[in-house]
Symmetry: C2
Subunit: 436 residues, 2 copies
């Protein structure tokens, strides 16, 4: 699937070729202004733009600062009050008729993974901005105040774990813990936050939320492969991360007979092959992945004595997560014993399944019906800030299709029509929530 | 198994703890002088000594130069004429009664792998030196001249392939090819050879050899586990090195359903598990090893799209090597197809099996019998310079047990009694060959 290039040429600057997929959106009856939305998306996509059509906006880097500055300028233009908290989370507030009522929030994140896509995160932040601009255009007031959020460090590759800003906001991660985190070069989170000028005064602590909505690309192939336009996201899968280490004996690949070997790579390979079979025993939507792998000494003629690999497994049923863990540990111990290896299994992260608010999901279903968009219920297998927001108030997410289900790479792409449809669903749902 | 430390204290220098295993050798009736042999082994073990009791003498480094200088001083003390060829191979010559007869050679190498052991290579060079010293002591002349050889770059990790010096000497590798090789930092073989002052004048080209004998630690567990004192090495296994690359599709570990994945790591793991089963179908001494492994992107929550691994397999039957290759390729293609991956299999090295000379092996058997040492025939599954020497004259090797079969690591060790027994067998056999 190829994208057609689009000559951006915004604000009289020299045009930069931003390969948004050009789609005629005139057939859609949208609340929002698709051209304005698109111009904002395109301008943001230039911040940290990569040659391959993606963006490189690791959290708290100069590119992240530039994205934040651009967003801040826009919210100021839209007449919103910008509040920045101690974690650098940005809240752009539009007053409500009952301004003391807990706000209706919508947002996502402007940071990216290395060489990530230009819709992942930005779509949710800039769609929320477009909704507020639309309400301004129409001179519409809402009962509750509306807050557009840009969460700090949703992605996490520079400062793991991911969803750090929303995690502190929800009280799940201590502020000091976040501040003391160091990146691979030893740079401290707090120093980097101050360096880019986004350590705010507002406390980063739990406060009531009237509702939280997050529009995001699906990052998977379900919607696009089924031709469904809107995913009504009812929750986020629970996730377990394990690190499995197997240790055998380093020996010369020539003179060591097969029956005397303690080959850590053979034990690991058999375990990985076994892990591949586990999801099928549990549920069609259960997923398990080995993504990280290292071995020692990694020499062509030496039997490896030390192998470490990760396991990532996800589902929304806590019992199946427990059962999967048992099966994975059983496989690792069985294969370690077979090859006479030592095995160690460590927990390196995880989260329990998070069910969203059924009434918010129902609003998304209703407005999708009203606008004539096909939709289906789904759970997110990827983490999102909505997971932490759900601790503070009624929350749900809106997914829209992305090309081939790809994300976290420069290949990430989507039809512009799908982006506008998502923004339109967000507009209708946020308006309803803010008036509820 | 622990070694007892031995206070070296040679030449009045501050003693350095060299952990040779202390064994009483007075029960052995040796031709050679075990104390002198031991002192030389200990002094050589100090060159490039590592804290863990091994040596770091990568080829053409300062440590290699220092080892060569020490060896050169010793051969000069022993009254031998030292000839250095264009590859830095060192030949220390003791005249024969018929000095024009092709020489009886014995030797090995003084270079090491990174953090290698102190017997691998040194044993064969210094045992040959001890044999010549013994002949000098006894005022014994031989019909043929004797040459002690230190081959350049037997190990190969700095300048692959291994056995480079003997390979050029045998005419199997072009001198210019060897000269132009570069190490990982871009240093050229020829420049490094000149830098350490060991680019000699003698042509490095095939010349007739009366016989070639090489004493070496087994580097495997056969002798030590069977309690046999001497291995009569009748040949060297053929070796094939493959590089297998599997390519799938990079996807997010969460939202990509198991049935839509093209997981390169799963394909590779299943292939490695299958390769483990192949030797058992072929022959009890067939070996196959996956030692190198890399994957991309190597992130805990991303499905790997690119995996490369090596395969090393060895045996002395060319038909079984061909059959193994077929089975390995079949396994890789089957598993690639099952996971919908692209697969590429490259040849990255190899050698055919080399059978040594039966009459030389018979001499080793005879002198072992004569001295009352238990012995068994065997093939070497590791490469040795003897492989190339065999192209130029009657050749065989003598193996002695090493602790736990370990080599290519600081853990490499051997009983001093086994070292002396090996040196004694070499003395008896070399004397016989030089008088034949």
């Amino acid at each position: 699937m190829r994208t057609r290039d689009y000559e951006a040429g915004v604000n009289g600057r020299e045009s930069l070729r931003i390969p948004f997929r050009t789609v005629n959106v005139r057939g859609l009856e949208l609340l929002i202004n698709p051209d304005r939305f698109r111009r904002s998306m395109e301008e943001m996509a230039r911040v940290g733009a990569t040659k391959g059509g993606g963006v490189n906006r690791l959290t708290l880097t100069d590119a992240d600062k530039q994205a934040r500055d651009l967003f801040a300028a826009w919210v100021s233009d839209a007449g919103l009050e910008l509040q920045i908290d101690e974690m650098g989370n940005m809240f752009a507030r539009r007053a409500g008729r009952e301004d003391e009522a807990p706000p209706s929030m919508a947002g996502s994140h402007l940071d990216s993974v290395p060489n990530g896509g230009r819709f992942d995160g930005s779509l949710g932040v800039l769609a929320a901005l477009e909704v507020v601009r639309t309400l301004n255009d129409k001179n519409v007031s809402t009962r509750r105040p509306i807050e557009i959020v840009n969460w700090t460090n949703e992605e996490g590759p520079r400062f793991p774990p991911s969803m750090l800003g929303s995690g502190v906001f929800a009280g799940a991660i201590a502020l000091d813990t976040a501040y003391e985190m160091k990146d691979a070069n030893g740079a401290r989170f707090l120093d980097e936050l101050e360096r880019i000028g986004y350590r705010g005064d507002a406390p980063c602590a739990p406060r009531p939320i009237g509702s939280y909505l997050e529009l995001h690309i699906e990052q998977g192939p379900a919607l696009v492969s089924e031709g469904v336009q809107v995913g009504v996201v009812e929750g986020i899968f629970g996730l377990t991360w394990l690190r499995v280490t197997m240790r055998g004996e380093r020996d010369h690949a020539g003179p060591t007979p097969m029956h005397m070997r303690r080959d850590a790579l053979v034990g690991a390979a058999r375990t990985i092959a076994a892990i591949r079979e586990i999801p099928g025993k549990l549920h069609p939507e259960f997923v398990a992945t080995v993504g990280e792998f290292s071995l020692s000494p990694n020499a062509i003629n030496v039997i490896p004595d030390d192998v470490t690999f990760s396991v990532d497994f996800r589902h929304n049923d806590p019992e199946l997560l427990t059962e999967a863990r048992r099966l994975i540990e059983e496989a690792a111990r069985r294969e370690a014993e077979r090859e006479n290896l030592e095995v160690e299994i460590q927990d390196v992260g995880g989260s329990t399944p998070t069910a969203f608010d059924e009434s918010v999901a129902q609003v998304i279903r209703n407005v999708s019906e009203e606008a004539g968009y096909s939709h289906r219920p789904m759970w997110s297998a990827a983490g999102h800030d909505a997971r932490y927001a759900a601790d503070l108030g009624p929350t749900a997410m809106i997914f829209v299709p992305c090309v081939a289900g790809k994300s976290h790479s420069e290949e990430e792409d989507m039809d512009w029509e799908d982006a506008c449809r998502g923004c339109d669903v967000l507009a209708r749902a946020l308006w309803k929530m803010a008036d509820s």
